[in-house]
Symmetry: C2
């Protein structure tokens, strides 16, 4: 393709609304066009990148024995009522009525459609296991779309669904898919992706893993233990707190703490340790507005996903009214008389002598001992794990937290959908059973943007050759000079004939403009034809990552370019492994 003809503008200024680099390059490089909040059109370079990612995914899914199908974008609400999700999923499920006043939804994931497709076919054990997948547009009415293609409302996603007659068989296939996922990310040029245990959220099921690309701009926090290799999403990581060595039991005493608004101010004022304080965080549940008071160690924060999973309902920050009986800023467990649900986090377990709120303005207690002063309570884990915390597996104080983008996820769903939707099969002994499901997702556009986020310099993306929009970026400097133009035209046509994907910049523009555009397009191999070199019968071949820059004879150009392309592919493919 000739760059002069390609739709989409490239420009220098970073748009003010772009917080992360990949978003800025997506806009500046003419990859995406904003259409509406979280909705984008894709220009040719991004369409080409996503098409290549889709092909890699397709090859790996086919190799894993999954069959490609297609589910609709628009689904009848009745299908989601069968699974119960029509009611249970929040506003991110877009519901509407069609012209006949039938309730419809936009598919944000297709568990129901998958079960619907194979419900009758999969009626005997002999058909199992089997796996189906699609690559299709999805819509999720996100409250806060952001970061370009990283978090959008409309997106293309590969979603696969597997069906099994036993948990062992599901686990076996789950491992096959896990292997396919690593291969997909390796082939897409990001072998550094890690898999972490995750919270299953609204999809359901017990065991699930997320594939995380570790980048500072990621919106997820991932927990690692460098000692034993443990890893998990923040939400799925058990927080273990060691309170041995705390101050021994003391007397419960009410003290005046004027103007102390935070637990840090209180402890500072009382010369006590924040690690020996009990702070309160007050929420209300979304469905019933019930007050939820979480007590936890003063130096910990509540992980709201853990809390949501515990309560079976989402929460929001509480509105403290006079009627509710809670004393904001001074809320404590002792003589707490407000009508609310109280939750004790595990971080308090083992503390003997704490500072806590006295449920009275400007007063706290010192010397709180929960067992003595309140009695036996149940401790649950709703706290956010922190750097340096205790690894829940090896027990060492070795927790490290990194930021990452979730580029894929896999779930062991169990029978959540098959049971609710009445899918059964006859087993070998004639008994009627419910199949067990797994599901496996990858967002195509997010993966493209994530690679851009992980692989870029100050000037633009550095695409891995396997998913680059083109393999070669041909720059003809001084296309007004016949000798340059002719040489460039010839190389362009020769490369096309050889099946090489080339973007050809034949514009008569300044070198600065030409190279800035090439950097924004991030094509791995660059071929530059300029008047000085061409006078010596030479052209320049370089790589976007600057690791290669050499002059070659015009006559050798084709062969050298192809050699370089092969080398770049080899570098990627050498990292693609079979793990099972």
């Amino acid at each position: 393709m000739k760059l002069s003809n390609m739709v989409g503008d490239r420009f220098k200024e970073r748009p003010s609304d772009c917080v992360i680099d990949s978003h800025a390059f997506s806009v500046r490089g003419g990859y995406i066009k904003y259409v509406s909040n979280g909705i984008y059109s894709l220009y040719p370079p991004m369409k080409r990148v996503t098409a290549k990612i889709e092909n890699i995914i397709r090859e790996e899914m086919d190799a894993a024995g999954s069959q490609e199908v297609l589910f609709p974008v628009v689904l009848p609400g009745s299908l989601w009522e069968e699974s119960g999700r029509f009611e249970s999923v929040g506003e991110e499920l877009l519901r509407f009525k069609d012209r006949n006043n039938s309730s419809m939804v936009l598919g944000m994931t297709h568990e129901e459609a998958a079960v619907h497709m194979v419900r009758e076919w999969g009626n005997t054990y002999a058909k199992y296991p089997f796996s189906i997948y699609q690559i299709q547009t999805k819509f999720r009415d996100e409250a806060r779309p952001r970061a370009g293609l990283i978090r959008v409302r409309e997106f293309t996603m590969k979603d696969a669904y597997s069906f099994h007659t036993s948990q062992e068989d599901l686990e076996k296939y789950y491992a096959v898919m896990a292997n396919s996922y690593f291969r997909i990310f390796e082939r897409a040029g990001i072998p550094e992706v890690v898999s972490v245990k995750s919270d299953s959220g609204m999809i359901g099921g017990s065991v699930s893993h997320e594939y995380m690309l570790l980048v500072d701009a990621g919106e997820d926090s991932i927990v690692f233990c460098d000692e034993c290799g443990y890893s998990a999403n923040m939400e799925a990581a058990d927080t273990t707190v060691d309170n041995s060595g705390c101050t021994p039991i003391g007397e419960l005493t009410k003290v005046n703490t004027p103007d102390c608004k935070t637990i840090e101010e209180v402890c500072n004022f009382l010369h006590s340790k924040v690690e020996e304080s009990c702070k309160a965080v007050i929420y209300q549940t979304n469905q019933t507005d019930e007050y939820i008071v979480v007590f936890l160690r003063g130096d910990y924060e509540v992980n709201e996903t853990k809390l949501t999973n515990l309560l079976g309902d989402k929460v929001h920050a509480a509105t403290i009214t006079e009627e509710c009986g809670l004393c904001a800023g001074f809320c404590g467990p002792y003589k707490q008389e407000a009508k609310c649900r109280i939750i004790y986090d595990k971080s308090l377990e083992g503390l003997e002598n704490m500072v806590c709120g006295a449920n009275e303005v400007d007063y706290h207690y010192t010397g709180l001992n929960i067992k003595r002063d309140i009695g036996d309570v149940e401790y649950v884990d709703v706290a956010k794990i922190r750097t340096g915390d205790i690894c829940p597996v090896c027990g060492k104080k070795s927790i490290r937290i990194s930021r990452g983008i979730e580029v894929g996820n896999i779930f062991q769903l169990g029978t959540k959908y098959t049971k609710s939707m009445g899918m059964t099969y006859t087993d070998v002994d004639g008994s009627v059973k419910t199949p067990i499901m797994g599901c496996y997702g990858i967002g195509v556009g997010r993966l493209a943007a994530s690679v851009m986020e992980a692989k870029h310099d100050d000037y633009g993306p550095i695409w891995p050759i396997s998913i680059a929009p083109w393999q070669v970026h041909l720059c003809c400097m001084r296309s007004d000079k016949a000798e340059c133009k002719e040489a460039a035209d010839k190389i362009y046509n020769d490369l096309l004939k050889a099946g090489v994907e080339v973007i050809y910049d034949d514009r008569n523009v300044q070198a600065g403009v030409m190279f800035a555009d090439a950097d924004l397009l991030g094509v791995p191999v660059r071929v530059t034809i300029g008047p000085k070199n061409i006078a010596n019968g030479q052209i320049e071949i370089s790589t976007r990552d600057k690791s290669v820059k050499e002059l070659v004879n015009v006559d050798d150009a084709n062969a050298e370019i192809k050699k370089l392309i092969d080398k770049l592919f080899d570098e990627i493919n050498s990292k693609v492994r079979d793990r099972i």
Copy 2:
């Protein structure tokens, strides 16, 4: 792929709701799964057929210099307000509100999105012409989805949009696209597709063509003149009526016509010719309910699309109330005093002495002469052309009407969208101008179903090899016998290694079941391995269309199969031409 593992059931009984064969085979062959009215999931065989069609389209669009992009399925209503279509398009445009109460629509076509994508980029004449296309899911809330994938609500469509600085340039590219379209249909195995002049409908523009596959089950009527080669969609064909030789002028006389309800009954009763009668068809407009009375020759019917185009509004059959003043069954132009709009069809032009209603129950006039009795009226063409009518081009009475399925369409849009949406460019002389657009659509699923409709026998589709779900259907009869199973396994693996697409039926089922399934899957090359032949070291190779059936030695099997595949491809490719 092994047939035993493929999701989707095949069965013998024709479903009662399937009116046309392709719909019945789509269901019986496990190609599609009904999800909701006009919404289907695709099983692997149909997903494979549509993927191949998409690839053919993609290659031809790329070759025509169109750039692949992607527009969203969900579009902001504001974009459709810019073009005026948010208001003007009927209920088939699905409108809804998102969680923020913003007005959104499901894209049924993407002219607005295309202009939005290139509005800023295409700001100078130097960028023109250019063309963009996408292959994407669309939704059209059809009132009456029917015939399987032929008329659905959700569908995958290729839509291309070209932008030009002159009508001449548009026409040049329109011809390029017309050529690409013929190549696409030829490559898909239906070279018999014809292009006909069409009505532009809600897309807009002046010149447009439809690509029609002529099959009896088609829902469109296409007009042909075998004398001069003229062709047009029914809606776009001018109706020419020859009234020379009609009865000469007579006296206007009111006559009693008791119990005559139709114009045929009236003429029969009065012993006059229906060809010399003036009948009334009464409508109301959709927007204002204004009464529209169409007078036309008694033996013609109203073409409602022509009428809609004339009125600029759709119409529905009138509700005749007492207040409206129209006398149903006896409505005539003479002394017509009702408050209504009267339209005279051209079929009445030249008639001198007609029967018509007298606007009074049980009475008609004879001897009506419009010029004498009513005065000068304007005649317009709103009648349906009929077999044997006069060709509007060569003037011979040679009109033939066939049924067809529209498998593609191309439009010269003019400036309808660019003007309303404020897209301009600076011309070479510095003046600011509005670009001219063309648009070009092909429904992928409909094309697949249309090929099935055109190419089938009593037992299933006969897929052209270029879009067949697989190239080879390998039937292992008696897979319980080791010599059959081993030979089949070897051929299967050898063919896969050679890059041949094989569906392998290794089930231990009756020959009847196996062949019925193979017929339903319609794979062009069939390889049958049975105990008798294999004992002689032979296998059977045949084609789905029964033109080939031969025994070959097992050792030659691979080579012979590949030769046959090549031959089938050659047959298709020999019909692919460049016309420009």
